[in-house]
């Protein structure tokens, strides 16, 4: 294996990307090779990012080698590291444009559809209902329902605008298998019930449009153009909506919930003129009707037969340019580690973007390309910033967003895997999870995830994760069951298979390093392995076990790089 030597210069890559090249046909989704040109959006990204480097007089990091890049793109697109076989297959490919080919395969080859959908379904479940949504007692949310809806949507590559429209306007039941099941309702089902749908208001505007409005519920915020009035106008769109509890027969246990639209009489009791009241900080009362963020008004009637307020909201959201920018920013942050803004879901005028024109342009491209997320992923993963290595050098020292600098994307920013990525990586790379049906595996995974969630004790369901590089995470990786399974030496285990393959101890050690961190061991690491071999009284399997334990506990393993 000569993976390390396969690195090619940025310029070589640029040529590979811009010359017409063999490429899989995107439209049919087949693996048949067809002549197509690398999408022009890649150049759009590269031009804007490189201009930034020139402006700040920095030189980007060198290009990541193929093995590192392969690990990176599997983690970002499928949510796990590649298996040893997958990594080796990529390294063995001598064809031009192999990176583009791999992206294409991960996105369009049927073998990966399920993993792709599972990964993005999980990401979006966490965005829409948090990591604890649907896990508390007496919750209305059905987490399986949310996940099923999203998994199906990503499996068929549902256009993003359709996804958003469905989430905003959904009616039906939360639970798979019940009458009127519509998993999309799980986004709003709990958020419309509490406190006059305040949470539905702030979540919808923040997650889908990048508008942070939660503070303007109570007062005009000094740093935000949103005013209290706008909050309650946006809120008015949700006031025909209600969640109904459906109980298990003969008990008061909630079986599921149903999200419905019904006539809204308004807070003054006149459905023809269905207004809401809100209170200014000086105690005065004001009224609000549904008005979209851009000032577009809809009819004031509260009768659903006159005007379905959430359908109108859905329509208006789809017209907003913030819809486009928000998805671009979110996807960019997913792949590059930082968004064009920080936080990623605040696109307000008070929060300047690092590359505002690029954000705009990419937003327009997404709209023109029917909100096809797989195309957006292709543009980003083939762009130059995504090819760079994760090295902070002298020539780009100022490019450090972790200390509050605007990101310049002149290197790949190191970041920790998510808990889900870690779990999935160990399951796929080492079979650490138990077998069983999808549901059983999902239950196991969820149980494992729960140990890291800490709730804040507020009505808004605020939460944090202890999977943040702190001690509980380290303890889990040192001693937890997942690690025990991953380092098992039982017949048929990953380590057992490694030990039965390969021509020499050295080669088997190399396989371990490739599988975990996509590189060969250094001289020093080989020598440590030698010492361990002696300490284990020449038991090679136990030495491999020690090294594998060390590898999966290392920063290099837990980091996306």
């Amino acid at each position: 294996m000569t993976c390390i030597k396969l690195r090619f210069t940025p310029f070589a890559l640029a040529i590979a990307l811009f010359s017409p090249t063999i490429y899989t046909d995107l439209s049919t989704g087949s693996a048949e090779a067809a002549e197509i040109v690398v999408p022009s959006q890649v150049a759009l990204i590269n031009d804007a990012i490189e201009q930034g480097w020139r402006d700040y007089e920095i030189r980007p990091a060198s290009e990541a080698d193929d093995a590192t890049w392969c690990r990176r793109v599997y983690l970002d697109i499928l949510g796990r590291i590649p298996t040893l076989e997958e990594l080796n297959a990529f390294l063995a490919d001598r064809g031009s444009g192999k990176r583009a080919k791999l992206v294409n395969t991960l996105l369009y080859d049927d073998r990966f559809t399920e993993e792709y959908a599972g990964h993005w379904g999980t990401i979006w479940t966490n965005i829409l209902i948090g990591r604890s949504g649907g896990t508390e007692r007496r919750t209305l949310i059905n987490r399986d329902g949310m996940q099923k809806y999203l998994r199906d949507a990503f499996a068929q590559n549902k256009p993003y605008n359709d996804l958003v429209y469905e989430l905003v306007t959904a009616v039906g039941s939360t639970k798979p298998g019940t009458k009127n099941f519509n998993g999309a309702v799980n986004f709003l089902v709990e958020k419309v019930n509490e406190e006059k749908a305040v949470l539905a208001t702030s979540s919808t505007s923040r997650i889908l449009l990048g508008q942070q409005v939660q503070c303007t519920q109570c007062h005009n915020h000094p740093f935000n153009q949103w005013k209290q009035q706008k909050f309650w106008e946006f809120n008015s769109f949700f006031r025909q909506t209600r969640s109904l509890r459906r109980f298990v027969d003969g008990t008061r246990d909630i079986d599921h919930a149903e999200l419905i639209n019904e006539d809204f009489a308004g807070e003054a009791g006149d459905a023809e003129d269905a207004l809401v009241f809100y209170e200014l900080r000086n105690g005065l009362t004001r009224v609000a009707y549904p008005v979209f963020t851009d000032g577009t008004e809809i009819a004031k009637s509260g009768y659903v037969s006159d005007v379905n307020r959430r359908d109108e909201l859905g329509r208006l959201v789809l017209q907003s340019e913030f819809l486009d920018k928000m998805i671009v920013n979110r996807m960019w942050a997913h792949f590059l580690g930082f968004g064009f803004t920080k936080p990623v879901d605040d696109l307000g005028p008070h929060n300047a973007a690092s590359h505002p024109e690029l954000l705009d342009e990419l937003g327009k491209e997404v709209r023109q390309h029917s909100y096809d997320l797989k195309q957006l992923i292709t543009w980003i993963t083939l762009s130059r910033p995504y090819q760079l290595s994760a090295v902070l050098g002298k020539a780009n020292e100022i490019d450090d967003p972790s200390i509050g600098e605007m990101p310049k994307f002149s290197r790949f920013y190191l970041r920790q895997m998510s808990a889900e990525q870690l779990y999935q990586s160990l399951v796929t790379a080492t079979g650490a999870g138990a077998a069983g049906s999808y549901e059983e595996q999902e239950q196991q995974r969820r149980k494992w995830m729960r140990q890291f969630v800490v709730a804040f004790g507020t009505d808004e369901g605020g939460e944090a994760t202890t999977f943040d590089g702190s001690i509980p995470q380290a303890l889990m990786l040192f001693n937890g069951d997942l690690t025990k399974n991953a380092t098992s030496t039982k017949t048929g285990s990953f380590l057992d298979r490694i030990q039965k393959g390969g021509r020499s101890t050295r080669e088997r050690l190399t396989s371990l390093f490739m599988a975990a961190v996509a590189r060969r061991p250094t001289k020093n690491e080989v020598s440590v392995a030698g010492k361990l071999y002696v300490a284990r009284k020449n038991n090679e399997l136990e030495m491999l076990q020690d090294m594998w334990w060390a590898l999966i506990n290392s920063n290099e393993f837990i980091m996306q790089h």
Binding site: Q214, C215, C218, R281, G283, T341, K342, P343, N351, V391, L392, D400, S402, I403, G404, L414, Q416, Q451, V454, A455, F456, G457, T458, D459, E460, G462, E463, A464, T466, D468, G469, S470, I471, P472, A474, L475, N479, G480, K484, T522, N524, E525, V528, A529, K531, L532, V534, A535, D546, M547, W549, A550, L551, N553, S554, N555, E556, I558, M559, H561
Partner: protein, 424 residues
């Protein structure tokens, strides 16, 4: 092959680890830090300061607890009662009334953050949220400043019980809160193999860690190594006994209250005794937009009253209160106006925090709000002011300045002013 691999008898774990780390200057430095000041440990032990924060997640209605407004339309149904301090408090806190000689109520808190996330951040750090920098929270700052008083401490210096607290910001992951549940049980603490083999694995691990840190030169990689070391220390430390709150006698557990918060406060006392400089104990469920007075009377106040009074009484009886600051706060207060659902909404303009212990004066009511509770009528105090005062009350200089990662000087506690009456 050297004898590192056999762990010679008589060689302590720490000693062994520093041998292993010999190849790496950075690792060795982090290991040797403790020993140089170890000689002074005994003297320093005499003045080992700690702080306990009781965090009321959701934003408690301080108008119903510490600053009642009987007779005002905003006053609600609760009556005030006299205390051993120079103030009255809610009738549903009778045990706390006995302890108020040790605690002071700052009734003139006036802040601007009435959103949960922003309020939690602001009250924990003394800084308003800023997208470009993350500030260290109380626990990280105080642990960082007080660690030199306890070189022998092997368990994390910042423990958060039953909640997430806030993070270390630019001080780095090594100062992040160690979150445990109130029963003190810690997941995955049990080593799955003998210590000598674990140490050998650690040596291999260190080598991989160092080479990655050196190659990328990026902070997350370096921080990871520091956390690994702390984790290893903790796994092999006898001091972890402090977490075994179950071993307390039944009558003590009963006195604190046999619920999560009660046991959390008891655990906090054990951790103070073990030398942990900062502990946060969380009690959530104060976000009472509906039916507030029933919830307070039947659930929140009895739980709080028992646990908080037991903690203060116990710390005092053990002579620990004179070196331990106890503070009570949430993100903000709640509206004087009672809404249509018989609840109170978020309100930051006029509310109360409670603080006492160490050099902080007890028994005082600081500041005053208007007769309906809607405004502060005396000098208003901020999170920065309170934090500066607490820091000073622990004997840390309030002039202390940190340097953030981008080289910006940052005053401890946002450079607030000292609430003079509290420091006597």
């Amino acid at each position: 092959m050297t004898n590192h691999w056999q762990t010679p008898a008589g060689m302590t774990r720490r000693h062994f680890m520093s041998h292993l780390a010999g190849s790496s200057a950075a690792y060795a430095a982090s290991l040797s830090m403790g020993s140089s000041i170890y000689a002074f440990a005994d003297e320093l032990k005499q003045k080992r300061r700690s702080a306990i924060m009781l965090w009321m997640g959701g934003g408690p209605a301080t108008i119903d607890l510490w600053d009642l407004k009987p007779g005002s339309p905003t006053g609600g149904p609760f009556r005030p009662i006299s205390t051993t301090g120079n103030m009255q408090i809610c009738e549903h806190l009778p045990l706390m009334a006995q302890q108020m000689k040790h605690m002071s109520v700052v009734r003139s808190m006036s802040t601007r953050e009435a959103d949960h996330d922003r309020g939690r951040y602001y009250m924990h750090t003394g800084y308003v949220p800023n997208p470009n920098i993350t500030h260290p929270s109380y626990g990280s700052v105080i642990a960082h400043e007080l660690m030199s008083q306890r070189p022998e401490l092997e368990i994390p210096p910042f423990v958060s019980i039953g909640g997430a607290s806030e993070g270390p910001g630019f001080l780095g992951m090594a100062w992040s809160p160690f979150s445990v549940s109130s029963n003190g049980r810690i997941r995955n603490l049990q080593m799955s193999l003998e210590e000598s083999r674990l140490m050998q694995r650690m040596a291999a691990l260190n080598m991989i860690e160092q080479s990655f840190s050196k190659r990328t030169r990026d902070l997350p990689a370096v921080e990871h190594s520091k956390v690994l070391k702390k984790t290893y220390d903790l796994m092999t430390s006898d001091q972890m006994e402090a977490f075994k709150v179950d071993e307390e006698p039944d009558d003590v557990k009963e006195r604190y209250g046999t619920n999560g918060f009660g046991q959390g406060c008891l655990l906090a006392r054990r951790l103070v005794e073990a030398g942990v400089p900062f502990i946060e104990v969380d009690l959530g469920g104060w976000d009472n937009h509906q039916g507030i007075h029933t919830i307070l009377k039947d659930d929140k106040l009895p739980t709080l009253d028992k646990a908080m009074s037991a903690l203060i009484e116990d710390l005092n009886a053990r002579g620990l209160l004179q070196d331990t600051v106890v503070m009570w706060m949430g993100e903000f207060g709640r509206t004087p106006n009672i809404n249509a659902q018989a609840g109170r909404d978020h309100f930051a303009r006029a509310w109360s925090c409670v603080v006492g212990g160490a050099d902080i004066q007890g028994g005082l009511a600081i500041g005053e709000t208007s007769p309906d509770g809607s405004a502060v009528v005396t000098e208003p105090f901020s999170s920065e002011d309170l934090m500066t005062t607490v820091v000073k009350g622990l004997g840390i200089s309030s002039e202390k300045t940190f340097t953030s990662k981008n080289g910006r000087p940052m005053k401890i506690a946002g450079g607030g002013k000292i609430i003079k009456d509290l420091l006597g």
